[in-house]
């Protein structure tokens, strides 16, 4: 009975650890991150495959140079595979299978067989910012080079909301009111002393 209780408790703690891992830190919000391969069209002879590592791994074909996001704690790498050495049907089957049952070793084996080249490593796809932040969407631009693994974007665009106008506006109004109060008080004091 005691063992069963301890086991249940450990099981609940195990589950809770997963639940809390998915919770946002209070006061923070996630921002949308878009990753764009700007010279995607320079490689018509290659398939671009984004590979999300476990937990919750998945692979995608990169379409129009836009790298898909995945589970926040997964790492995204992008590989290129020469079209002549990769059979599209096999690749699509592998992608479909990765949706149902992710098998990292099977994917790695396929990458080895097709001489896949790692071009982007650890692509940023999840970020939290303070709730007061004005950041809404971040777009990272990458320029792929087949002879070099890149980890940082060459350019970054941050779209912000207009919340800063409210913040600055409220502050300025408050400061003006404070200054008016101090000026009126000063005038009153001067009148009294005169």
């Amino acid at each position: 009975m005691k063992d069963a209780l301890i086991c249940s408790l450990l099981f609940v703690m195990f589950l809770v650890s997963f639940v809390s891992a998915d919770m946002l830190t209070p006061g923070f919000k996630p921002v949308e991150i878009k990753n764009v391969i700007s010279n995607f069209n320079d490689f018509p002879d290659y398939y671009f495959v984004s590979f999300c590592h476990s937990p919750m791994g998945i692979i995608h074909l990169v379409d129009d140079g836009i790298v898909c996001g995945c589970y926040k704690y997964s790492q995204i790498d992008v590989y290129v595979i020469k079209k002549e050495s990769a059979d599209l049907d096999t690749l699509l089957t592998l992608i479909q299978n990765s949706n149902r049952h992710f098998n990292e070793s099977e994917i790695r084996k396929y990458f080895n067989e097709t001489d896949a080249i790692l071009v982007l490593e650890n692509v940023e796809h999840y970020k939290t910012v303070p709730i007061s932040s004005t950041e809404e969407v971040i777009t990272n631009y990458y320029e792929v080079n087949l002879s070099k693994v890149q980890t940082n974007p060459i350019d970054r665009e941050v779209n912000r909301n207009n919340l800063w106008i409210i913040y600055v506006g409220v502050s300025v109004v408050a400061l003006v009111v404070i200054l008016v109060i101090l000026l009126i008080r000063k005038r009153k004091n001067e009148l009294f002393t005169n």
């Binding site: 209070p26 006061g27 910012v129 303070p130 709730i131 007061s132 932040s133 004005t134 950041e135 800063w164 409210i166 913040y167 600055v168 409220v170 502050s171 109004v173 408050a174 400061l175 009111v177 404070i178 109060i181 101090l182």
Partner: protein
């Protein structure tokens, strides 16, 4: 937005308690001044924290100094007392933010 509102109200309530302890007269005036001081400093701190969350300590120090100056003039008190009240009020609101929110 709700989170920001709760955070603001909590900051004002905690700072009010501190101000009531240090300035024991004219509670309505204290309430209005504390509200004004926070309407000035809180949005600025939030905005800067949104850009550079890693500089929380520097932001808090700046707010402590700014509020200290405002307290000195609004409450017509000595610099020493003004900065002490500002320090206590900001310390309590930061600790509440860290531990309860």
């Amino acid at each position: 937005m709700n989170y920001l509102l709760i955070n603001f109200v909590l900051t004002v309530v905690l700072e009010l308690i501190v101000f009531f302890v240090f300035f024991r007269k004219d509670y309505i005036k204290i309430f209005l001044f504390v509200l004004l001081i926070n309407f000035f400093s809180w949005p600025l701190a939030g905005l800067v924290f949104g850009y550079w969350p890693e500089y929380l300590l520097i932001i808090e120090l700046t707010i402590f100094l700014l509020e200290g100056i405002l307290i000195k003039f609004l409450f017509d008190t000595k610099y020493k007392k003004a900065f002490f009240v500002s320090f206590v009020a900001n310390l309590i609101s930061v600790l509440a933010g860290v531990f309860f929110i």
